[in-house]
C-alpha cells in the first residue's frame, strides 16, 4: 500500500529520518512507536508529500509519489499539530476540507455526518471550533482525516489529550475501518495504544527503525522474561522466567503462596531492551 525505500531526511546537521524502509500492507493497522524526536512526524510528512526526502523514494499503491496531488488524494491525514479553522464550526470545517477532496452535494453531507459520528461530536457540530476543548479539537482533527473515506489513513498521535472514554470509542471506530479494509498508519508513544490497535509495530529512535514485527513477536524477541513477584511465608520472592505458569505451580506446590503478581513483558520492555531507555524519558 505504502512503500518507503531507504528514505532519509535531515534538518541541517540533525538527521531526523535515517535510511528508513517500510512496506505497509493493505488492510493493516501499522504502529510507528517512538519517543519524542524519533522522527515519526517527519516520516508521516514525507509519506503525504509534504516534505521531500533527501534520499530514497516513496510510493503509494504503485501509483507514484504522493507529491502528486492525484496520488495523495488517497490519503487522509490527522496531523500532529491541530489544523482547523477556529472561526468555522465543525461542520463547516468538514464541509470545506471535504470539498477540497472533491466531494459535494448529498454525498458530502453524508460523509460529514459520518465523520462527526466517528469522533462523537455530532451534538457539537454547529459550534465554532474556538469554543471546543483541547480534546474535542483533537477529535475533530481526526474527523477531517476520514471525511473523504480514504483507503490510507496517516494518524499522527490522534488521541493526545482525548479522554479515555472518547479514546475507546475512537479505537473501536479505527478497528471498524480496518475491518472494512482501510489501511492505517498510527504513530504514538503510548505503547498501550500500539499494543491494542496495531497488527505490526515499527519501533523508531533517533530516526532509525530498530525493530519491526507483530506485537507478540516483538515482545517474544525483545521483551525479555516475565517477572513473577510472590509473597510467601518465607518472604517475598522476585523470579524472572520465560514460563511464569510453571514458576507459579512450583510455588503453589510448596504450599507457601499467599499473594502473587505476574509482569509480562510489553512494548515498553521491548523499547527499553532495544535502546536502554524508557519510552518517555
Amino acid at each position: 500500500m505504502l512503500k518507503l525505500s531507504h528514505v532519509r531526511k535531515s534538518y541541517g546537521q540533525n538527521v531526523a529520518v535515517d535510511d528508513l524502509s517500510l512496506d505497509i500492507e493493505p488492510g493493516e493497522v501499522f504502529g510507528l512507536l517512538g519517543p519524542n524526536g524519533a522522527g515519526k512526524t517527519t516520516t508521516v510528512n514525507m509519506a503525504v508529500g509534504l516534505l521531500k526526502p533527501d534520499a530514497g523514494s516513496i510510493e503509494l499503491d504503485g501509483q507514484g509519489s504522493p507529491e502528486e496531488p492525484r496520488v495523495r488524494a488517497k490519503i487522509g491525514v490527522a496531523p500532529q499539530t491541530l489544523a482547523l479553522y477556529e472561526d468555522l464550526s465543525a461542520i463547516e470545517n468538514l464541509n470545506f476540507f471535504g470539498q477540497l477532496q472533491g466531494l459535494h452535494g448529498p454525498s458530502l453531507a453524508k460523509r460529514v455526518a459520518w465523520a462527526l459520528e466517528f469522533v462523537g461530536l455530532t451534538d457539537r457540530g454547529f459550534d465554532r471550533v474556538k469554543t471546543y476543548s483541547g480534546g474535542m479539537k483533537r477529535r475533530l482533527n481526526l474527523a477531517v482525516a476520514v471525511v473523504h473515506d480514504p483507503p490510507l489513513l496517516l494518524l499522527d498521535e490522534p488521541t493526545v489529550s482525548v479522554d479515555p472514554q472518547s479514546r475507546n470509542a475512537i479505537f473501536d471506530n479505527i478497528l471498524a475501518l480496518k475491518a472494512e479494509g482501510r489501511t492505517v498508519v498510527y504513530t504514538t508513544h503510548y505503547m498501550e495504544e500500539a499494543q491494542r490497535l496495531c497488527d505490526r509495530v515499527g519501533v523508531m529512535d533517533h530516526g532509525k527503525l530498530l525493530a519491526l514485527d507483530a506485537v507478540e513477536r516483538l515482545i517474544e524477541k525483545h521483551g525479555g522474561k516475565s517477572v513473577v513477584t510472590a509473597q510467601t511465608a518465607a518472604g517475598d520472592e522476585r523470579i524472572e522466567t520465560d514460563d511464569p505458569v510453571a514458576e507459579l505451580s512450583r510455588l503453589q506446590a510448596g504450599g507457601k503462596l499467599e499473594h502473587f503478581r505476574v509482569d509480562r513483558p510489553d512494548l515498553e520492555a521491548v523499547f527499553l531492551n532495544l535502546t536502554g531507555r524508557t519510552l518517555r524519558d
Binding site: 491525514v77 489544523a83 482547523l84 477540497l100 472533491g102
Partner: protein, 434 residues
C-alpha cells in the same frame, strides 16, 4: 475550479465572522467617506452660492467700467478682472466657472441700447455646466437693467444721458429714420417730464418705468457663448472626493487582512492541511487571491452604490468605473500577496504591512487629496499605487476621463498587481521553518 470556489468561500465566511475585520472593511470606509464628504462640503466650494468669474474688459470705456463695477457689486458673483488669455486658461483649468468678456464697442452699444443693436457680452464657459450658465445670464441681465434704473431714478443723470442719446442719434446715420424721428421727439419730452416732477414722485414712477423696461420685444442684451472645453473637471461635490478616498482605506484594509490571514494559515497549521489536500499550490494562493478580489470588489460596489443613491456621487461613466474597480482589485490582490511574505508571524506581517500601506496612502492621496498637495509631492505620489487607484476611480466619477485616458492608470494598477503577485508567490514560504 470547485476547489478554488471552496477556498474563496471559506475565506469570505471567516472574514464575515470577524466583527472587527468586517467593521474596518465596510463601515470604516463608509464613515470616512460620509464624514469627510460632509465636512468639506460645508467648508469648501466657495459657499456654493457664488459664481466665481473672470471679467475681461476689452472696451475700457466709462460705461464698461461702470458695468464691471456693478458686476462686482452683485453678491452672487465673485469677480476678478484680467486679460483674455489668462481668463480662458483659468476657465479651462477649472479655476473660474466662466469668463465674461465686454468686447470693444460695448459702451457705445450699451448707451444706444434703446434704438440700436443691444450690447453683446461674450460668456466663455464649459457647455456642460448648464445650471451656472442660466444663473450667470440672469445676473448679467440684472446688471444691465440696474444701469437703466439708475437713470430713471435720478433726473439729473437722466438729463445728461438723454442729451448724450439725442446727440448720438443725430450723429448716427444708421438709425432707422422712423425710430430717429420718434426718439428725437420722445426723448426730450421724457427729459422735460422728469425735470418737472417732484423728486420723490419721480422715484416711484421711475420704478414703474424700470419694471416695464423689460416689455415684450425689447432685448436688452445679447449673449454670445463661447464654449471652453474643460481640461480638468472639478468634483461636483465633496463626496466625489471622499468616497474614493474612503474606499481606498477599505481596499487597503482588505489587502492587509488577507495578507495576514495567509500568515495565519501557516502559523495555525491549516496551510499544512491545505497542502495535504489534492490541490496545487497555485490553487491555495489563488483561493486567497480570489477571496481578496471578491471582497475588495464587493466593497467598492456597495460603497459606490450607497454613495450614488444617498450622497450624489453621480459617476460620469459606470462602465469606466467598473473597469477602474476591477483594476484596483487586481492591484491590491497583488499587494496582498506581497504583504503576506513580509513577516513570519501575524504581528510582524501586520505591523510591516500596515506601515507599507500607510506610506502608500499618505503619498498617494489617501489622507490629503492629491490636488491639495504641493507640486513636488504630487510628483513623488506617482510611486504610490494608491494615487493611481484614486485617479482611476476619480477619472470615472468626476474627471470625465475618456477610455483612452483611463488606460494609463489602469495599466499601472494591473502592472503593479502583477509584479507584486510574482514576487509574493515566489517568496512565499510554504513551511514554518526557513
Amino acid at each position: 475550479m470547485g476547489e478554488l470556489v471552496a477556498l474563496t468561500k471559506k475565506d469570505l465566511k471567516i472574514l464575515l465572522r470577524d466583527k472587527t475585520g468586517f467593521f474596518f472593511t465596510f463601515f470604516f470606509p463608509l464613515i470616512y467617506a460620509i464624514f469627510f464628504g460632509t465636512i468639506f462640503g460645508s467648508f469648501g466650494g466657495g459657499g456654493s452660492g457664488t459664481i466665481s468669474i473672470a471679467v475681461v474688459d476689452a472696451d475700457k470705456t466709462k460705461t464698461s467700467r461702470a458695468f464691471t463695477e456693478s458686476l462686482r457689486g452683485t453678491p452672487e458673483l465673485d469677480v476678478v478682472e484680467m486679460g483674455r488669455d489668462e481668463a480662458v486658461e483659468l476657465v479651462r483649468r477649472g479655476g473660474k466657472v466662466a469668463y465674461v468678456a465686454l468686447p470693444k464697442g460695448f459702451g457705445v452699444q450699451r448707451d444706444g441700447m434703446l434704438w440700436g443693436e443691444p450690447p453683446t457680452i461674450e460668456i466663455g464657459l464649459d457647455p456642460s455646466r448648464q445650471a451656472e450658465t442660466g444663473m450667470l445670464k440672469g445676473l448679467l441681465t440684472k446688471c444691465v437693467f440696474e444701469g437703466m434704473q439708475d437713470l430713471l431714478t435720478d433726473p439729473d443723470k437722466m438729463h445728461d444721458q438723454i442729451e448724450d442719446w439725442v446727440a448720438s442719434i443725430k450723429a448716427d446715420e444708421n438709425v432707422d429714420p422712423m425710430a430717429r424721428t420718434a426718439l428725437l421727439i420722445f426723448l426730450p419730452a421724457v427729459d422735460t417730464y422728469f425735470q418737472s416732477k417732484p423728486r420723490e414722485k419721480a422715484v416711484a414712477d421711475g420704478e414703474a418705468a424700470g419694471e416695464s423696461g423689460g416689455a415684450a420685444g425689447f432685448q436688452p442684451i445679447v449673449f454670445e457663448s463661447t464654449s471652453v472645453a474643460r481640461q480638468w473637471d472639478r468634483p461636483k461635490n465633496s463626496y466625489q472626493i471622499s468616497f474614493p478616498q474612503g474606499i481606498i482605506w477599505g481596499v487597503l484594509g482588505c489587502s492587509a487582512a488577507f495578507g495576514i490571514s495567509l500568515v495565519t494559515e501557516r502559523t495555525k497549521g491549516t496551510l499544512v492541511r491545505l497542502r495535504m489536500a489534492p490541490i496545487g499550490r497555485w490553487q491555495i494562493l489563488g483561493g486567497k487571491a480570489g477571496a481578496c478580489a471578491v471582497t475588495t470588489f464587493a466593497l467598492m460596489c456597495v460603497l459606490f452604490t450607497l454613495g450614488t443613491v444617498a450622497f450624489k456621487l453621480r459617476p460620469s461613466s459606470i462602465g469606466l468605473l467598473v473597469l477602474a474597480m476591477a483594476c484596483v482589485s487586481l492591484c491590491f490582490v497583488g499587494i496582498m500577496l506581497l504583504l503576506s511574505v513580509l513577516g513570519k508571524t501575524e504581528q510582524a506581517a501586520g505591523g510591516i504591512g500596515w506601515a507599507v500601506l500607510m506610506v502608500m496612502a499618505m503619498l498617494g492621496g489617501g489622507m490629503v487629496p492629491a490636488f491639495f498637495m504641493p507640486s513636488w509631492m504630487q510628483t513623488v505620489s506617482h510611486v504610490s499605487p494608491v494615487k493611481w487607484a484614486i485617479l482611476a476611480m476619480e477619472g470615472a466619477i468626476w474627471r470625465g476621463f475618456s477610455p483612452s485616458e483611463m488606460v494609463l492608470p489602469c495599466v499601472i494598477l494591473v502592472g503593479v498587481g502583477a509584479g507584486c503577485s510574482v514576487i509574493g508567490v515566489r517568496a512565499f514560504s510554504w513551511t514554518e521553518q526557513s
